[in-house]
């Protein structure tokens, strides 16, 4: 029973392939999981937009959307109807082709990222030899689409937003990849499926997740920060900072193309969350050995949604950074910390298990954290502001 529920989608795929004519069997076996991803994640996007608006509202002591449907849960339907029926405006001086291609490219590339994320046991589109590398390679192409959107709009705000976005994404890609290298070292594989399988064991009822090691915890936090920046979420949403540069690179987009950008941004968020879950939080593995009877895909989606909730929480809490703070943070704090995490992960591999291993591996990270904190804070000496005209 448990086994059946766990593998229900896999069994369905096998059943569908077996019952289709032999000529289309390979096509069916590919199309079905792709269709699953194309349905699952956009609907998750629809739910998340409401959840986000409601959560942010509660954080600010408001109600949030509550008009469309019961308790406002049909809000995404209204939003979709609105954005589909809106006029699609393209600026007269815009580069029409590039302007059109940018959102399409973004969504396509982001969907590619899902190919290597294991959604459940035996549920991955392509078990690649180098899955983690594929994920980051596909993620690198999103920068192109952001730049295309900003440049083709012929709008200074768009261009500024695009330049900010590209600079930010390149800067944060380094800590993102470096912090995942620690996991790759520990698992000894670049394949996402193998990485999850390595974490699926239990000692007693305690899981073998990488986040439960000192380097894994630090790496997870760094990865989470870097992925927030990668997906342009608050507090790293300078590229679209609506109070400074209107909406950044999608200022000149309206209607369906704007909806595509919105979709792409959220899908990117799900994808990086899925990757964080895969790398650090044990993917589809249950947190305790006595909970393994719950289907694996429920665990995966639950973990992803938990991360999304944390995203929303952080967005409701922190103000936007300044550009120089953003760059300083990436290069002066994140990069040294991730390098130290890799060093600590190497130590972990060679030390015998025990309390001492914990202490020895945690010590360099904690030390660097304290030192960097001291140094960075001493740089930021705030003086009393002098007003020229007031008083």
């Amino acid at each position: 029973m448990t086994q059946g529920l766990d593998q229900i989608f896999v069994t369905f795929q096998h059943w569908a392939v077996a019952h289709s004519p032999a000529a289309v069997q390979p096509a069916v076996s590919i199309v079905l999981p792709v269709a699953g991803i194309l349905i699952l994640f956009p609907s998750l996007f629809a739910i998340t937009t409401v959840l986000e608006r409601k959560g942010l509202a509660r954080i600010q002591n408001r109600y949030g959307p509550n008009r469309v449907g019961p308790y406002g849960w049909l809000q995404p339907v209204a939003d979709a109807v609105k954005s589909l029926t809106k006029e699609d405006i393209v600026p007269r001086t815009a580069d029409k082709l590039v302007h059109f291609l940018a959102p399409v490219l973004l969504v396509t590339v982001v969907f590619l990222e899902y190919a290597v994320i294991p959604v459940g046991r035996n549920m991955v589109l392509a078990d690649m030899n180098s899955g983690v590398l594929f994920f980051f390679a596909a993620g690198a192409a999103t920068e192109m689409s952001v730049f295309m959107a900003g440049w083709s709009s012929r709008n200074k705000y768009s261009l500024l937003g695009a330049m900010r976005a590209v600079a930010q994404m390149i800067s944060y890609e380094a800590p993102l990849i470096l912090s995942s290298i620690a996991v790759v070292m520990a698992a000894g594989s670049l394949s996402t499926v193998t990485i999850v399988e390595k974490q699926a064991g239990y000692s007693g009822f305690w899981p073998h997740w990488y986040v439960l090691t000192p380097w894994g915890l630090a790496g997870f936090v760094l990865f989470a920060i870097a992925m927030t920046a990668e997906s342009n979420r608050s507090p790293f949403d300078l590229p679209e900072g609506e109070s400074e540069i209107i909406a950044g690179y999608f200022t000149e987009y309206s209607g369906f193309k704007f909806a595509l950008f919105f979709l792409g941004e959220y899908l990117e968020m799900f994808a990086v969350s899925g990757m964080a879950v895969t790398l650090f939080l044990g993917g589809w593995a249950a947190p305790f050995s006595f909970l393994t009877w719950i289907p694996s895909w429920i665990w995966f989606l639950g973990k992803v949604m938990t991360l999304i909730a944390v995203f929303i929480w952080v967005r409701g809490t922190l103000p936007r950074l300044r550009m120089d703070q953003l760059m300083n943070f990436a290069w002066k704090f994140m990069l040294p910390m991730t390098l130290m995490v890799i060093f600590s992960a190497g130590l972990w591999k060679f030390l015998p298990s025990g309390v001492l291993r914990w202490l020895i591996c945690a010590a360099p990270i904690a030390l660097l954290y304290v030192v960097l904190g001291r140094v960075l804070q001493s740089e930021r000496r705030i003086e009393k502001r002098v007003y020229r005209y007031a008083e």
């Binding site: 030899n129 180098s130 390679a137 690198a140 192409a141 920068e143 192109m144 295309m148 590209v166 390149i170």
Partner: protein, 164 residues
Amino acid sequence: MTAPFVILAVVTIGGAVAAMTLRKLVHCALALAVCFVGLAGLYLDLNAQFVGLVQVLVYVGAVVILIVFAILLTRHDELPAQTNRTRVAGLGVSAVVFALLAWAVTAGGAQMGAAVAAPEAAMKDIGGALMQKYVLPLEVVGLLLTAALIGAVVIAMEEKKKAR
């Protein structure tokens, strides 16, 4: 000569031609990205998964973006085309080079390259080779990249005014 190979080759060559002939520099950079993606596809088609993905990661994710940055940081008025003489000379040289290469390939490459069983380049083997046999080149490349990083920063940095 399979269908994917032909398609990818056409994409690559088309992107390259566009990158070298389009008038707007940003269009050139975008076409270059298409060319690099096509090349990455060719690598994947040739069973070199690692190199293909690194190609996308480094070229599309970094080099093209760098070129785009350079384009936006320099003013480029529509430059007049090269004088006809240079143009003809350049195209002539490249045509001659291509003819030579093509002759060499078709004349000399026949004895090799019959259908060979696709070799498997496992990530583990690549990692092992990098860390054991090729560890010295790897370190040298690391040094080179660091030097390039510092050098690029120093070169591109605004020269400080001496009189202050």
